[in-house]
């Protein structure tokens, strides 16, 4: 059961990181980018359409992670503490914290992306998107390392 949930959590996270990266780059790429360049194509996509998917994927990923965390606490954490993986535990703590803070800004993020593109929310929309992108990337990388920690760096 835990393995199935972990794999599902990983798959949802992959979809989420793809969507948020695409949206963040589309938001931040300079407007004078050549239309047929890599960034030009990124900018060309309607980034607003990703907002609903990102919101749903973030919620799903958080929910799955919260369930998997129960198994982690009982079955994995004692082993990590025994092996003195203190830094990994610290990074995982930060992942939990960042994820929850991201959860809090999710309604504001969703709201900003459902306003007209020329509205006064543009700056806030970009900021919240970048913050969420950072949280998702951090969580993805830490989760990946934790998943492979018995082989990572050993």
């Amino acid at each position: 059961m835990a393995t199935t949930l972990l794999i599902l959590h990983g798959l949802v996270a992959v979809a989420l990181i793809g969507a948020i990266t695409h949206q963040a780059l589309a938001t931040c790429a300079p407007p004078n980018t050549k239309p047929h360049s890599f960034f030009g194509r990124f900018r060309g996509i309607p980034a607003a359409r990703f907002a609903n998917a990102i919101t749903v994927l973030y919620l799903a990923s958080t929910l799955l992670g919260a369930v998997v965390y129960l198994y982690f606490k009982v079955d994995i954490q004692p082993n990590l503490e025994r092996d003195r993986h203190w830094h990994a535990m610290g990074f995982l703590d930060l992942k939990e914290d960042f994820i929850v803070i991201g959860l809090g800004i999710l309604p504001a993020y969703w709201f900003c992306w459902h306003q007209p593109a020329s509205s006064r929310h543009n700056h806030l929309r970009s900021s919240l998107t970048l913050l969420l992108a950072f949280i998702v990337w951090w969580s993805f990388l830490v989760g990946h390392v934790m998943n492979n920690i018995r082989g990572f760096g050993s």
């Binding site: 203190w86 610290g90 930060l94 914290d97 809090g104 504001a108 919240l128 913050l131």
Partner: protein, 119 residues
């Protein structure tokens, strides 16, 4: 609820959530404590080591993360509702808060995590 009130609610909620989470994390204010090994949830913050020898802590590991999240969510909900009831001209204040407070809360969490890196 008007669009303006929704806007104030979501901005205030996002800002307050980060602030309350950092406070709950720093002060250990979990609404409930989860003991996954025993499948028990207790209201409030509880520590195994307060009732049993610390060396037996691994038998009943406690989890506060869910409780901190619930505490922050309730606090943020109240602040969000209050913000929705306040005048619309305060919009800029809530927009500023949701822009600045979550990153500050993340920095606070980094500070609170430092002990792991000193072990």
């Amino acid at each position: 609820m008007s669009a303006s009130a929704v806007r104030r609610f979501v901005f205030a909620f996002g800002a307050a959530f980060g602030l309350f989470y950092a406070i709950a994390r720093a002060r250990g204010l979990a609404l409930f404590t989860v003991y996954p090994a025993q499948a028990i949830v207790l209201l409030g913050t509880h520590r195994s080591r307060d009732v049993a020898d610390p060396v037996l802590d691994f038998l009943a590991p406690e989890m506060y993360w869910y409780g901190w999240t619930a505490s922050a969510a309730i606090g943020a909900l109240v602040i969000g509702l209050v913000a929705a009831l306040l005048p619309g001209r305060l919009y800029w204040f809530w927009a500023w808060c949701v822009w600045i407070i979550p990153p500050m809360a993340m920095i606070a969490c980094v500070y609170l995590t430092i002990p792991w890196f000193r072990l």
